[in-house]
């Protein structure tokens, strides 16, 4: 299957590149950047609308290397080094428009803890197998997305579809280790209606994913302790290895949803608003020969965004407002073995919502571009983000909260030397923590899960920090419109004060405890560095 997909993408890229030969102006990466900012419909779930605000014709191919290192990270994240290969392109196909992207990532993840199986971690998926040994993963990710839009039929309606397919494989390299595979497909058929300057769109969203993980040990004589996490510090002990040890884990995902769009496109002003909703269920179980249900999650996401683009004689201005609300219920099953000899299976006799995961995100972003033939002469921007995460375990009552506000300014200058270009960018940001707390009332307050996972993650997620970034891109045109570019970027993040220390309290029975934010100096301030180097072509 994978080879057909790769062949399809390469064929698509070839078509796009061939189609793009008709264009004569040089495709600077800065041109692609500003074009994407202006292509408001492209930035929604509605592919059909791409016909209204089309991307320019282009093709890209790049190879890059990413690093994320440093101790300012969540426990499960680790240090990450990634080799990227990416190709993308946009072009008319007859009177229709198509856009496609394919990426391959080869990832090495080191010093990751409390994740034995998963290649992709989501904060609202509590049901994972975890162990406390610092480990490293080797992963490969193939990801392909295609968008296509018909021409505007009868000058009123267009149809489109977005399709994404990804496959990930990987393996944890230290006992308890794993063979891990994740697959998924997302399809978003859409339509758009245009009425003069106004337009409306409708999108249907469907996603299906399937993950499979096999926990195992290299040393068969030493069982490895692990934890079946259930959220907010709740867990049950597990063992990898031994007779009757944990079997293969499966995650089955289905998501349905939709989105509505409204657009206005005047002479200089473009406005596009979108509201979307998705409903997703993930079932988690292990040992398929005798399936045991770890749990299920029901996730509901409501989101909306507004894009406004104002194009003047010399400047392009863009304002983007995003809102995102995610509510997830964690369901656990009470199961018993049906001992009937013809059955001998786990049977679910009751199920309850045991935990809840709420996340709210708001962001406001303003960009200004000084237009030029090479895309832009300079650009500047400012953005603010508000995030609020609240995880709750209902019985025994526990909670985890992290509320933050983040602001960033950034800008880039395009220095031209003949046809060659050097783009230099700078950014600076600051995160202010509004609140952070972990309350735990379960039976194991001194466990590694509570102290080494949740305590340390809380320290990270509730810290104030600053970050600075610099990026450089040297662009060299060749041929009629092609460029080769070399890019490098670096961002440095550091908690600007001692990480929060947490006080330890117990109730009168000496059992329950909670962590409170306190100033202190027990945890060393930590930092994280993000670096990227890439070389690429535009066609």
């Amino acid at each position: 299957m994978k080879k057909y997909i790769i062949a399809s993408v390469l064929a698509l890229s070839t078509i796009l590149i061939a189609q793009a030969q008709g264009s004569k102006s040089t495709i600077y990466p800065t041109v692609l950047e500003i074009n994407q900012a202006k292509a408001t419909w492209f930035n929604t779930n509605n592919a059909a609308g791409m016909i209204l605000t089309p991307l320019s014709d282009f093709g890209t191919l790049s190879v890059g290397y990413d690093m994320k290192v440093g101790s300012y990270r969540q426990q499960q994240e680790g240090d990450i080094k990634t080799l990227n290969i990416n190709t993308s392109g946009s072009s008319p196909l007859g009177r229709a428009r198509v856009w496609g992207e394919f990426s391959y990532q080869n990832i090495t993840q080191e010093n990751s803890k409390f994740n034995t199986l998963r290649l992709t971690l989501e904060p609202d998926m509590p049901y994972i197998l975890a162990d406390s040994r610092p480990s490293y993963f080797k992963k490969q990710v193939y990801d392909m997305t295609v968008k296509a839009a018909t021409p505007l039929l009868w000058d009123i309606v267009a149809f489109g579809v977005t399709a994404n397919y990804f496959t990930k494989s990987g393996a944890k390299q230290i006992d308890p280790r794993s063979d891990s595979y994740e697959y998924g497909i997302e399809v978003k058929p859409s339509t758009v209606f245009a009425f003069g300057d106004h337009s409306t769109g409708l999108t249907f969203i469907y996603k299906n994913a399937f993950d499979r993980y096999s926990p195992l040990n290299s040393n068969s004589q030493q069982d490895q302790p692990a934890f079946n996490l259930r959220g907010v510090g709740s867990f049950v002990n597990a063992v990898v290895g031994s007779f009757g040890g944990l079997g293969t884990y499966y995650y089955k995902t289905n998501r349905l949803g939709g989105a509505l769009q409204y657009g206005y496109q005047g002479n200089n002003l473009k406005v596009l608003a979108e509201a979307n909703y998705t409903y997703q269920v993930i079932d988690v179980f292990h040992t398929p020969a005798k399936p045991f249900r770890m749990g299920s999650t029901i996730q509901q996401v409501m989101g909306g965004n507004i894009q406004m683009v104002l194009e003047g004689d010399y400047f392009t201005n863009k304002v983007t407002i995003d809102g995102y609300k995610r509510s997830t219920d964690g369901i656990e099953y009470i199961q018993v073995i049906d001992a009937t000899y013809t059955v001998q299976q786990w049977v679910s006799i009751a199920k309850f919502i045991r935990s809840e995961y709420d996340f709210t995100g708001l962001s406001l972003k303003y960009d200004i571009f000084r237009d030029s033939n090479e895309g832009y002469d300079w650009m500047a921007g400012i953005q603010g983000q508000y995030t609020d995460r609240l995880d709750t375990y209902i019985i025994p009552e526990s909670s985890f909260k992290a509320e933050n506000v983040y602001g960033e300014i950034y800008g880039k200058k395009n220095f031209m030397s003949g046809n060659n270009s050097i783009v230099v960018g700078l950014s600076a940001g600051y995160n202010y923590n509004i609140a952070g707390e972990h309350k735990y009332n379960g039976p194991f307050p001194d466990s590694e899960v509570v102290r080494d996972l949740y305590e340390k993650d809380l320290a990270i997620l509730s810290a104030n920090y600053y970050q600075f970034g610099i990026n450089l891109k040297a662009i060299f045109p060749f041929g009629e419109k092609n460029t080769i570019y070399v890019a490098a970027s670096c961002k440095y993040l550091r908690a600007n004060e001692t990480l929060h220390n947490y006080s330890y309290g117990t109730d009168t029975e000496g059992k329950n405890f909670w962590w409170n934010l306190n100033p202190g100096n027990q945890l060393t301030p930590s930092a994280r560095t993000f670096a990227n180097f890439s070389i690429g072509f535009t066609f």
Partner: protein, 402 residues
Amino acid sequence: MKKYFLLAIVLLTALSCEQFKQVAEIVEVTPISATVKISVSGADSDIPLPASYTVRFINYGENFEISRSTDASGNVSADGLIPGVYTVTATAESAGGGFTYYFSGSLTNINILTSGQTFNINVVSSRAGALIFKEIYFNGSKGYYFKDQFYEIYNNSDAVQYVDGMGIGNILPALASTTTYNWEVPDGKPENYIYLASIWQVPGDGDDFPVKPGESIIIAQIAQNHTAIKPTSPVDLSGAEFETFIVKQSVNPDNPNAHNMILAFDKGVFGTQWLVTVFGGAYAIFFPDSEIDPNGWVKPQGMSNQAYPIPIDCVVDAVEIVNNATKINQKRMPTSLDAGATYTGATYNSNSVSRKIRETTKDGRHIYMDTNNSSDDFQINNEAMVRRNNPGVPSWNTWYKK
């Protein structure tokens, strides 16, 4: 092609609808309450009854436990329970006539899903166990060596005990797992028995092998100095009182000093030695109420495994050993014999399990914990040790060298 694509979309959407339907209308969990009523049966009138019972509501799946004491009527209510599958145990002690009496009863794997349920527990009394498993070494040692398995039986009472005719065996299923057996017994009451894969019996005429208070005997799989045979083995079993010697084999040497146990039922014995799983068996010692009939086996419904039924009333002591902590809710031994389980969590690393010392008498004799709950009574040892804590050695063992 297009129609297949559309068909696939329709099918996947239908599947997703089925998945959505399964999680519809699920409510938030709320704490619930339950009541337990204690009744005592079979206690002689001269045995003093305890003032109250300790009732434990154990939900192994949740790592959750609540412990409450009954009132004078033997009733207790517990609130704040998480809906789930519980093991409920009731225990108490009383003393009289120079003896300690244990009262115990339990309910296993009961569903407490809604508030207001009442459960009755019938407790029975027993005098503190005289002969007990003191240490069990089943793990084996590095290099896949398992011939050094042994069982130490200790006289925990203050009276001489005779082990002549005592049986020892491991029950089926051999491993703690989700596989359960539905035994078919002639009297139709499978709950009254344990089902042994193999039975070894101590020889003797009834008074040949006395064990004084504070003394222990060793039953070795093979009574040899294993540290000389396999340097990774931690034990010298050449001084063992008994060995489970397979007569019709020549691979393993016979220790001329150690008495050979009698293989009374052999369905669980294969090859040249009595190997019980290194992952943890469930063991019992007992005095059978009738002669063991090699053909008196029974089978579980729909299966071919053969095991010998021993009435629970004949069991002197029983210990459930599981692979690891996650297997406790898959235990095999009836909770009336062992309400918990112990484990080492590893294989071939010389670990063993042994009882914790409850108290030491003035004359230096240890009395070990024997609450019929191995989770509480046993400890895990990094290395097996023969005659840990210096128990006495029977006087008839003239070959043991300290």
